[in-house]
């Protein structure tokens, strides 16, 4: 498609012109700040894990370089020495590299937020920069997005702080990571993000109405977007992270910006691309699908045979059915490489093997009659004869002995030995690290340096291997979650992403709990805000009753809750009314008779009348309160007769004014049921009495 080519060229030229003034910079975060790849990432940082026999960080750097980035800051934390060594040896640090790579290491980074705060502190970026993780594989040409971003910044006087790059891909695509599934509401003309929410585990989605009320008249709510985890940020982003020290992830940031949009006036935009490929390897499920996309050439021109890292001997040939062979590969008699197979250099494969959809690293030895399907075999692995491997990852230096069968989603971490004659059940993770060492280590363990791993290794040596788990000649421990440590349980499950749990119920549960630990605030609170607030108010009132707290303090507490959950005043009043009126049910259950109900409720009303008075001030407040009362009694239709008594009491306590009650009675009839309610004899009598009282004098009520 030469038209596309032309466009690309134009984009490059334009961005080059701007680059002449300011080199394009990028911030690459070579740390995931979580333990999703444990126990694999205990020995090797995630950015260096091989994907298609090339370290993941190389893909990210290649992507940045090809989009014209001239200066990249690589931030590493976990095992920073290894990343540094790797980068110094790679082509990116050669003097001829068009992309100057600076490596910044610190053990103090605990989140993306920390990194960006450091960027701000050191004033590394002077202009718009690209923010990516070290495990993003992409060939998207962002120069177009960059141009749009710059144009917006020029036109709108720095209102837009960030442009997120998304790729269009419909739901159900295997490269869509369920954890990263997002739903986005955006302004279709300006591409401004109005609402951004992770959808995982949520059955109901809620959009605040106010986002659709201003701005343009066309909106899009999209679920067909794959988050590429590539964002174009203005230098303000780093400043904003500094200002808001509680921002940990990009998610926090996006939500924060959207919530505070009116206050700070910052906006986030979206760039949706149809061609190009971009995905982040966030768990093994994604590792599997990105690897296979890579082998199937979706990331062209970044393909295995292109040898873009320019390493000697890394080159391989590409032949029919996407079979890639490195130099010095030997294949035994009768062995078949069916399709989508990548074999690294100097690997030898025995006779009658059957290999499909797999990636095999360098210097591996594979015996006879081996079946490999969706297997990811890294470097220097020794696999004996009659082994079967299905959709599993075998890390560097592992040894798989005779007649071992790895069922789906097994992981053999570094240097593990398995077998012979063993079948590992689905989802087994074997590691040289004893799971108990987790408990011995303190919580900061995953942020510490390699020394600690070395020293914990020594400890594990003392424990014996279990032959039932890893076979008679095996070495390694089943990486299983210790029962009391829920976090590890979560992580062990999540190594492969969510597909492990086909049951949607447990899915959402595990996700939610995982969320709460991993990214403390990323589950959207909005949906539950109102409910949570209601519960909190109930708790507050209960406590107030038990401990006899003064009403002023109750008001203070409810006010602070209001801010914590971002609830409007109107909602506060409705919820408060509701909570108070339902309180007798809370105490005695729903089987109360009307008499008992009113008996319990009226003293409470009297007690809390100052609280009500505090919130019900304007005429509109009175009406809102009344409609809340009405709503409740419409639900509890057996207690409708109590309504008059409640209204009477509230009137007597001067919570409600008679004018308001009369107005409510005359206007609010919208549905049949509420009309029915108004026909209630007691109520009509009450209203009549009120009307008469109004004629006489207002002191009557007291």
């Amino acid at each position: 498609m030469s038209s596309r080519g032309g466009k690309q060229k134009k984009g490059n030229v334009a961005s080059e012109q701007e680059e002449e003034e300011q080199p394009l910079q990028a911030v690459l975060v070579a740390d995931s700040f979580n333990r999703r790849f444990f126990p694999i990432s205990k020995d090797q940082p995630r950015a260096l894990l091989p994907l298609g026999n090339v370290a993941m960080i190389d893909y990210t750097l290649e992507f940045l370089t090809s989009t014209g980035v001239q200066e990249t800051f690589v931030f590493c934390c976990w095992m920073s020495n290894k990343i540094k060594d790797h980068l110094l040896k790679s082509k990116w640090c050669r003097p001829t590299s068009p992309n100057v790579v600076h490596i910044i290491t610190s053990d103090l980074y605990r989140s993306l937020g920390d990194v960006l705060r450091d960027v701000d502190a050191k004033t590394l970026v002077r202009n718009d920069f690209i923010l990516v993780y070290g495990d993003v594989v992409s060939n998207i040409d962002v120069s177009q997005a960059l141009q749009e971003h710059r144009h917006r910044r020029k036109v709108d006087k720095n209102i837009s702080v960030m442009t997120m790059v998304f790729k269009e891909s419909s739901p159900g695509h295997k490269s869509r990571c369920e954890e990263d599934d997002v739903i986005v509401a955006m302004d279709s003309k300006s591409k401004r993000v109005l609402h951004y929410q992770k959808t995982q585990g949520l059955k109901k989605l809620q959009f605040p109405m106010n986002i659709f009320q201003h701005g343009s008249d066309e909106f899009e709510v999209r679920h067909d977007l794959l988050d590429c985890h590539i964002s174009i940020c203005s230098p303000q982003v780093a400043e904003l992270f500094t200002d808001n020290f509680d921002y940990q992830t990009r998610n926090d940031f996006v939500r924060g910006i959207l919530v505070n949009e009116e206050i700070l006036g910052n906006q986030i935009h979206l760039y949706v691309t149809q061609d190009g490929y971009g995905a982040r390897v966030s768990n093994l499920q994604m590792y599997d699908s990105v690897s296979s996309d890579m082998v199937r050439r979706w990331v062209y021109p970044v393909t295995p045979e292109a040898n873009f890292t320019d390493q000697r001997g890394q080159g391989c040939t590409h032949s029919r059915h996407n079979v890639y062979r490195g130099a010095g590969v030997s294949l035994g008699h009768g062995s078949q490489m069916e399709e989508n197979v990548l074999i690294g250099r100097d690997t030898s494969i025995g006779a009658n093997c059957h290999i499909s959809n797999s990636v095999i690293g360098n210097n591996c030895t594979i015996g006879d009659n081996v079946v490999l399907d969706r297997g990811y075999i890294w470097n220097n692995v020794d696999i004996s004869s009659n082994v079967e491997i299905h959709q599993s990852v075998v890390c560097d230096g592992a040894v798989v002995k005779e007649a071992v069968r790895l069922n789906k989603q097994c992981v053999l971490a570094y240097n593990v030995e398995i077998g012979p004659n063993l079948s590992l059940p689905e989802g087994t993770v074997v590691s040289m690290h004893h799971p108990e060492e987790e408990e011995e280590d303190d919580d900061d363990e995953f942020l510490s340096d390699d020394q600690e791993v070395g020293h914990s290794k020594d400890k594990t040596r003392q424990k014996a291997f279990n032959p039932a788990e890893v076979g008679p000649e095996g070495k390694g421990y089943i990486w299983k979650p210790s029962v009391d440590d829920t976090e590890d349980e979560e992580l062990a499950q999540c190594l492969w992403g969510l597909v492990l749990n086909p049951d949607p119920e447990s899915d959402s549960e595990s996700e939610a709990s995982e969320e709460s630990q991993d990214r403390s605030r990323s589950v959207s609170p909005e949906i539950d805000d109102v409910n949570a607030f209601q519960l909190e108010v109930l708790g507050t009132l209960q406590r107030g009753l038990e401990e006899n707290i003064v009403c002023d303090n109750l008001v203070l507490e409810i006010n602070s809750l209001k801010y914590a959950y971002n609830i409007t005043l109107k909602e506060v009043m409705q919820i408060l009314t509701r909570v108070v009126l339902e309180y007798p049910f809370q105490l005695q259950g729903t089987q109360l008779t009307t008499l008992q109900y009113t008996g319990l409720l009226l003293p409470l009303l009297k007690k809390w009348s100052p609280v009500f008075k505090n919130y019900i001030k304007r005429a509109q407040d009175h009406l809102d309160c009344l409609s809340a009362v009405e709503e409740l009694f419409l639900e509890q239709d057996t207690h409708q007769t109590a309504m008059v008594k409640v209204l009477m009491k509230m009137y007597q306590l001067e919570i409600l004014e008679e004018a308001a009650i009369l107005k409510w009675f005359s206007t609010g009839t919208t549905t049949d049921r509420s009309r029915q309610l108004r026909k209630n004899k007691g109520l009509q009598k009450f209203i009549q009495w009120l009307e008469e009282a109004e004629d006489e004098s207002s002191e009557e009520g007291e």
């Binding site: 419909s170 199937r296 979706w298 996407n322």
Partner: protein, 355 residues
């Protein structure tokens, strides 16, 4: 130190060119045409000749070979790069021979016996130092560049000999050379062009737009209609990516269909190919011959679920065997496919065929 500076600059240029080659081509081929690639390669080789450190022809050839190997490895499908490296090597050989006073032409016709006895001695003969060699080589490369500049014009000039009034001409996809060729003929003659769209990249659409802009009567057809339309066609004129050593073509996907249909209807098939597309490669070298790009155009990534269930391939090139080709039109005139071997031995030195 200006010397080191120069060298750094040179390596930077080479690296940039390599990176460009690697990334070049999202669909049908590089962003630029092969003519441009040829010129750029030659210009870069000239720069290497003038800036690298060498004292005799042997050293220079070694440097050019080394860089040439890297360039061809960067994008094996881009044969023009390799061809230009071979041309420059040949120039060096000739200039060296001239400086020594003997004619390289004589060595061209080596008999089998001579080949057998000479062994690998020829390489050592390049060790003699000649002061004017550098200037001569650069001069010759400049001549080559001038030749490259004029190729498309030279081919287009021959158009009137091949296209007659009221003919129906079929072409496939988009070729800059064919475009120029047809436009040139359109200045004098009236004819009708049928363009096969060449899915999935549909370069044919662009070709048709360009042709109709100059007032040529143009029709776009789907690839599936090629055979049906062929009976009305008087001549098929196509471009190609590479002309192989056996006279076959490596051309854009769909060309083989056109060639077979043309053969069936005995329609002459004319290939417009400048000399720099002539490659000493044979079609059996499997791994570099094919080029598969992202399957995005065939089945978009947005499709979702189906993608995990099927394998999608998107090859870019077709092989067209020499039997199906009637005539090659190059910048030095028309040739039959059977004559290609001769041209190759004139253009490149047999010892350089494998870099």
């Amino acid at each position: 130190m200006p010397g080191a500076d120069k060298e750094a600059d040179l390596t930077e240029r080479i690296e940039a060119f390599l990176a460009d080659l690697k990334r070049g081509g999202c669909g049908t081929g590089p962003i630029r045409g092969s003519g441009e690639t040829a010129r750029e390669t030659t210009a870069l080789l000239r720069k290497i000749t003038s800036q690298a450190r060498w004292s005799n022809a042997g050293d220079l050839m070694e440097i050019i070979r080394k860089e040439g190997r890297r360039m061809t490895a960067a994008q094996p499908s881009e044969t023009t790069v390799g061809n230009m490296v071979l041309r420059v090597l040949k120039i060096i050989r000739e200039e060296y021979a001239r400086s020594r006073g003997s004619s390289e032409e004589a060595d061209q016709q080596e008999s089998l016996h001579k080949l057998l006895t000479s062994g690998g001695l020829s390489e050592e003969n390049f060790r003699q130092h000649f002061a004017p060699l550098k200037a001569n080589v650069i001069e010759a490369i400049n001549e080559l560049l001038t030749e490259l500049e004029g190729t498309t014009d030279n081919i287009a000039m021959q158009a009137l000999e091949h296209i007659h009034s009221n003919e129906v001409i079929m072409t496939v996809g988009r070729s800059r050379t064919v475009e120029a060729f047809l436009k040139d003929a359109a200045r004098k003659r009236k004819f009708h062009v049928i363009v096969a769209e060449c899915a999935p990249f549909c370069q044919g659409h662009e070709m048709a737009t360009n042709l109709s802009k100059t007032g040529i009567e143009t029709t776009v057809i789907a690839d599936a209609a090629i055979f049906a339309v062929m009976s009305r066609v008087n001549k098929v004129i196509i471009g190609t990516q590479t002309v192989l050593a056996n006279g076959g073509l490596r051309a854009v996907n769909g060309t083989h269909t056109v060639a077979l249909a043309a053969k069936h209807h005995s329609t002459p098939l004319i290939v417009c190919a400048p000399m720099f597309k002539l490659s000493p490669q044979f079609p059996n070298e499997e791994d570099t011959f094919h080029k598969f790009v992202s399957p995005h155009e065939v089945l978009p990534f947005t499709e979702g679920e189906i993608l995990s269930k099927v394998n999608v391939h998107c090859p870019v090139f077709d092989y067209v065997p020499p039997e199906l080709i009637t005539l090659f039109i190059s910048n030095i005139g028309g040739n039959a496919p059977s004559y290609i071997y001769r041209l190759i031995s004139e253009l490149y030195h047999p010892e350089d065929h494998a870099l």
